[in-house]
Symmetry: C2
Subunit: 296 residues, 2 copies
């Protein structure tokens, strides 16, 4: 594939869309997302990340509610609408969605770009009552080589498992897009970064990865969400954000994805991938089994 | 072993000694460490963590210099002195040391307590020119069941590999003592926590572990060190510190090690250990091979 041989694009403008979906109102949420995508594209963004389950809301009451909101990828109505927008605007989108595959439902993210459907990520680590509605992800942590660089995806609670960012880095990812619906963690002191932000910074730093996390805001069926979307450099320091904790907002960063490839080499003696002790904790050769669900 | 069956002690006063060793002056460094250990014991500490290579300094010029400073564990002069202090004061010490074993040298931490020598940890991930002087650790990430709780050790750059804290947690550790000689990471913005602090917080939060990191201060042969020692709760929030970035200082936290065992269960559906996806990144069953180098 010729895309693998190209250096990553620089600069690449990355946008994270922080929005407040309305539970169950797919039509309104989809319309809102399309407006914000248009706004990000007008501002020059090429890669646009939307929150987890951004077209449905999150706090489901029943399997019936979830199953009524699920759709096929890439032929469901939201995917078609996002696919059209991506083609028309020349952007790559990563958007959280309830995916239906036969009788199974997944908390997924669809990737779609200027050339059409790219692939699907299925959340590997399910949080709370998600375990009542969704099947755990069964496609590993795929990395897609796109014209501008290599992209992986993690969703919310996946981030609590540092193995996820590690799997992405070991497969050569430059950026991990992280649609999320972060909830508060107990005991946060005033003035401290949210723990979800800290996990993203640690994941970026210890793997040499860009991380672009798009969170939702608002309170849904008594569950508050954090906002504080952010984009992190491969050094681990913040490139954009954290966004507001309660307002819809788009954050942007102009990044050079090649920095991720440079960041793993720390000095003449140290490289974050080479220094791993596979003899102690595995060389993760099983990552070969990560199976992208992709278009043509 | 009866110690495994007891609940961990609560409260347990943990101390991290932040000090500035003088390169090569073992006698003065050892004496200083003993004074600070006495001070921590007088303040009621039961578990006392000292920095990496606290009796030798860090920035070595040559193998000859390192080899001249190495000593056998537990029979070398520093280990004997620390062992005597631990017995006399009724404290458990974790102290960084150049370990000599035949022709090999390790960047190690010795554990010694009221009943005598406990064991040795050998740094698994060597930083920079350490690779010229030391052999990489060959005892895995041991966890010692002590009367007050289960203790593991990580040293400095080990912390850049989230697998280390994970290995400790999967073996049931309550607290990871982290002797360290942190150096600045490029690009830190003003007012931001040090990345080393952020890595400790992320490691504690995503594993449900206490982490007690004792750093050095001072500049040695042009290499500045960070200070900012800290003790982190299993929630990931800071229990004590960060200490000063340039002063010798002892920080204390009164902890309930049982909180680490409680912290892994997040709600009815989620547990940080049970939720791991061993099918994707290994069940780390090889941790059985972690071999404590222990006394009787």
């Amino acid at each position: 594939m010729t895309t693998r041989a190209r250096p990553p694009q620089s600069p690449l403008r990355v946008a994270c869309i922080q929005m407040a979906p309305e539970i169950g109102n797919k039509e309104a949420n989809l319309e809102k997302s399309l407006g914000l995508i248009g706004q990000a594209a007008s501002a020059g963004a090429s890669l646009v990340v939307l929150p987890e389950l951004c077209n449905t809301g999150y706090v489901f009451d029943s399997r019936d509610e979830v199953f009524g909101l699920g759709e096929d990828i890439p032929d469901g109505e939201s995917c078609r609408a996002w696919g059209d927008a991506a083609r028309r605007l020349g952007v790559t989108l990563v958007a959280g969605i309830v995916e239906r595959e036969g009788p199974s439902h997944y908390n997924s993210a669809v990737l779609t770009g200027p050339e059409g459907y790219i692939g699907t990520y299925r959340k590997n680590h399910l949080w709370g009552e998600e375990k009542l509605f969704f099947e755990p992800g069964n496609v590993g942590v795929p990395v897609w080589p796109l014209p501008f660089g290599r992209v992986a995806v993690a969703i919310c609670y996946d981030q609590w498992f540092p193995e996820v960012y590690r799997l992405a880095a070991l497969q050569g990812a430059d950026i991990v897009c992280t649609p999320t619906n972060w909830v508060p963690m107990p005991g946060q002191p005033d003035g401290q970064l949210a723990m979800a932000n800290i996990l993203a910074m640690a994941g970026a730093h210890s793997n040499g990865l860009f991380i672009a996390a798009a969170d939702r805001v608002g309170t849904e069926r008594d569950q508050p969400f954090l906002g504080q979307s952010l984009i992190v450099n491969p050094t681990g320091w913040i490139a954009a954000g954290p966004a507001s904790n309660n307002e819809e907002q788009i954050i942007y960063a102009d990044v050079d994805l090649a920095d991720a490839r440079r960041a793993r080499s720390l000095n003449a003696f140290n490289d974050l991938v080479r220094d791993r002790r596979g003899d102690l904790y595995g060389d993760l050769s099983q990552v070969k089994s990560c199976r992208p669900i992709s278009g043509s």
